[in-house]
Symmetry: C2
Subunit: 482 residues, 2 copies
């Protein structure tokens, strides 16, 4: 890796301009690059590897809970979108259309999938005939395209990568249990793998997925106080089963429509990860998802260099053998200090320094990206100490993000209070809501904040609607969102 520039100093501080900070960080750390295609980015190796670690972990959890992967065609005939009314209304404005292929105009336009309920529903109607074929538990890792008006790298791109689970069940109870199970997996994954605390709850009807009966989400707070919807799980009822004729003979030999679900997370999680943990020095990546967990930097004068590097290489082999994602930077053309800044900017959780004096003392220095703490540890204990410190950083990052969220979560009684709040401070606002779409709309129009979800476990239960003052049906989290 060459092209070293003084990019470390070129990052706009978060407090000055959070959006510029974000773009500076993801470009300079080489997570992504802009592409010549409108709203599409290139996932460079370090950015893509973050997704690979997310994918491996989620895939393991999906398989543990009985799901299997499959792959369905990306091109979907136009007529398929007409079959579920809400679905077509929701997605039609965003569809890209293939109209010509192989030198000819197509008889029927083909959409590039924005999501796959329709084509999967069509196939499920062929595969499901008896209750014995259920539950059908399938997941797909795929690219999807939505022609978005505003785009932002990772968080909202024309093409993005995601997983979409699609399941079919005998009963509503079972399908709802699946919806809840996947939501719980997303929550646990976000908190214990990405160190991103999330609010789990139900979407209001106006924010639910086009075609769903109920949509549930996990919502995360970025460092500018905005929200990112980090994952969704939908109970689709029999809507798609009716539209695509997914019917089965039940245990009493009666024809029934299946109850279906879908659930997904996308590469926008990479954006959330950066905006939750990053700081003015650059990225800060939780160890579980970091492409490089430990960077090893030999230090000291040229005369001891060879000897130090020899020892570094030995310790490298040891850590690698233990499964640590470790990298040595033994370049002589840049100074150790320069490297320290570079790897802080790239968000590497742990730095290991080894110099001639450490050689004599049989120790190394470990430095945490999270706290800056320096720890001298004996070389003989290296693997254990590295693993301990990585675990501390992982849990410390979650705690810090929880604290940040607590510091930026507010409770409001009225719309005026919310307006004042969002002008003065960043963050989420908890408020009562009467349940009417009109009141929800008014919040959005007057504050720019949308209802994120109705949390399962709100910090408190509000009693009156922030807009109309009527009795609150729900306690809702409102926030400006990406």
């Amino acid at each position: 890796m060459s092209k070293e520039k003084q990019f470390v100093t070129e990052i706009t501080p978060q407090g000055e301009d959070f959006s510029r900070w974000y773009i500076d960080v993801i470009k300079k750390s080489e997570l992504m690059d802009y592409s010549p295609v409108r709203g599409c980015i290139v996932f460079r190796p370090d950015g893509f590897e973050i997704w690979e670690h997310m994918k491996d972990e989620l895939d393991r959890r999906f398989k543990e809970t009985g799901h299997r992967n499959a792959y369905f065609p990306m091109l979907i005939p136009e007529s398929f979108f007409q079959k579920e009314k809400e679905h077509v209304e929701g997605f039609n404005p965003e569809l890209p259309w293939v109209t010509e292929a192989g030198g000819e105009k197509l008889e029927e336009r083909l959409a590039i999938r924005p999501t796959s309920e329709t084509i999967i529903g069509h196939m499920y109607s062929k595969w499901v005939q008896s209750y014995r074929d259920l539950p059908l538990l399938i997941n797909q890792w795929a690219n999807v395209v939505r022609w978005e008006k505003r785009t932002l790298p990772f968080l909202r791109t024309t093409e993005f990568l995601w997983q979409e689970g699609h399941t079919a069940h005998e009963t509503e109870v079972e399908a709802r249990a699946e919806t809840a199970q996947m939501l719980a997996i997303y929550k646990d994954f976000a908190e214990n793998f990405l160190a991103i605390p999330v609010i789990v709850g139900q979407k209001t009807p106006s924010e639910k997925f086009a075609g769903a009966v109920d949509t549930y989400s996990i919502e995360a707070m970025m460092k500018d106080g905005r929200a990112v919807q980090a994952g969704t799980s939908h109970y689709l009822g029999t809507n798609f089963a009716v539209a695509f004729d997914i019917k089965f003979l039940d245990r009493e030999n009666t024809q029934q429509f299946a109850h279906t679900t879908s659930w997904g997370v996308t590469t926008r999680l990479i954006g959330a990860l950066i905006m939750v943990h990053g700081d003015d020095r650059g990225l800060a990546l939780p160890p579980k998802v970091a492409p490089t967990q430990v960077v090893m930097i030999p230090i000291g004068p040229p005369k001891t260099r060879e000897q130090v590097i020899g020892r570094v290489d030995e310790l490298y082999a040891e850590l690698k053998k233990a499964g640590v994602r470790v990298k040595v930077d033994d370049r002589s053309e840049v100074s150790p200090g320069w490297k320290f800044n570079e790897y802080e900017m790239r968000g590497v959780p742990l730095r290991l320094e080894l110099g001639p004096r450490d050689m004599e003392n049989g120790q190394v220095v470990l430095v945490s990206r999270l706290t800056g703490e320096k720890r001298m540890v004996a070389q003989v204990d290296l693997t254990v100490e590295v693993e301990r410190m990585l675990a501390e950083i992982q849990s410390g990052m979650l705690e810090r993000a929880k604290q940040f969220r607590a510091d930026h979560s507010h409770s409001v009684e009225t719309l005026d209070e919310m307006k004042a709040l969002l002008e003065e401070k960043r963050g989420f606002a908890l408020a009562g809501w009467c349940g009417s779409e009109a009141c929800e709309k008014q919040v959005k129009e007057e504050t720019g904040a949308t209802s994120r979800n109705i949390p399962f476990e709100p910090a408190e239960h509000k009693t009156t609607c922030l807009v109309c003052g009527d009795k609150a049906q729900h306690t809702v989290v409102f926030a400006r969102a990406y």
Copy 2:
């Protein structure tokens, strides 16, 4: 899993109609299903899992050799295809075009990628500036679309999945070494993971990749004697570097064009796997790639059923813990004999039977899908014995495929000899070739066979061209191909 029909007996014998056998097998074993989109298939879970095992193994090998994954946009502006003349001529007839999106007609049409040299070339020109940026070793796992006239499940589908490696190097020597390295990885993977013996060699100029200087391939023989190109590796010279301006300052501070390569394998390998190993009983999957490696079937009368199943479950846990992909079929509604047929049809390499007498004797019966051999083994040695037998089946399948290929490889002197051969027998023909396109074309027109490649290690060196009788420049493998 329900929907058990008597499908085992519904497979057309290979000798009667190989094409029908193939479709019967992949449908009945639920590897795939047809989709409503022209030439596109659905990869059902068992079919997709075969691809997942291939992907994991290749990915590991790519990373071991220093490559990293990235992801580039799927939609490619039309103007990009115009930049490399041969490339556009080769791919233009097969491109599907997005012409409308988000409710508007696009100013420039966007092709769905048939391969990504163009967009990746464009990005590399931004990333490569100095010799220090080289080599650039990137791989992408992605879907691609080619509007094919004739399609066949797995082997040639409109949309397919693949990996495409794209690398850039300082010198021709290095780039050629990369091309050779990846070809060697493909060969080793095909033979030692898929148990498919392959012929490694160079494509003739008329069969090379559109835009390459040299194309190399691995070619496999199916059971009907036809060839499948199972992987390709291209040395692209500076063709794409010139077209996309991938330039760097070399060690002497002079501007140079980079030398690039690309290499790929696709989901057609699933089709090859089936056509190399399958037989009249159905699929036969090599253990390393089989979704289920061992199926456990409890046998015996109802009164001992519970006890037998209890022991089966214990042994299942043991095998699973050892990393064996194992499945128990304890259904009571179908007979053991029915299950034996079903899992043979599905190609499960090893069957384990356990009945009351085996319980008494502390043993189990293992039955090989490859040879039908039954082996009594002590339950205490189960894991070791299962692993041993799976390894034997894996190597036995490669040996059997090698023997089949040897039996169906022929040497011919003249075009008439080749015609007679291909009418009477299945298989590959080794022949001399003068190097002229005219002679190569005549072979194709008169026999339907194409040059597969110029093998690095031909069984013999031919001295005269089979068509014109002139001195042979190369010894070529000809075959009808999928």
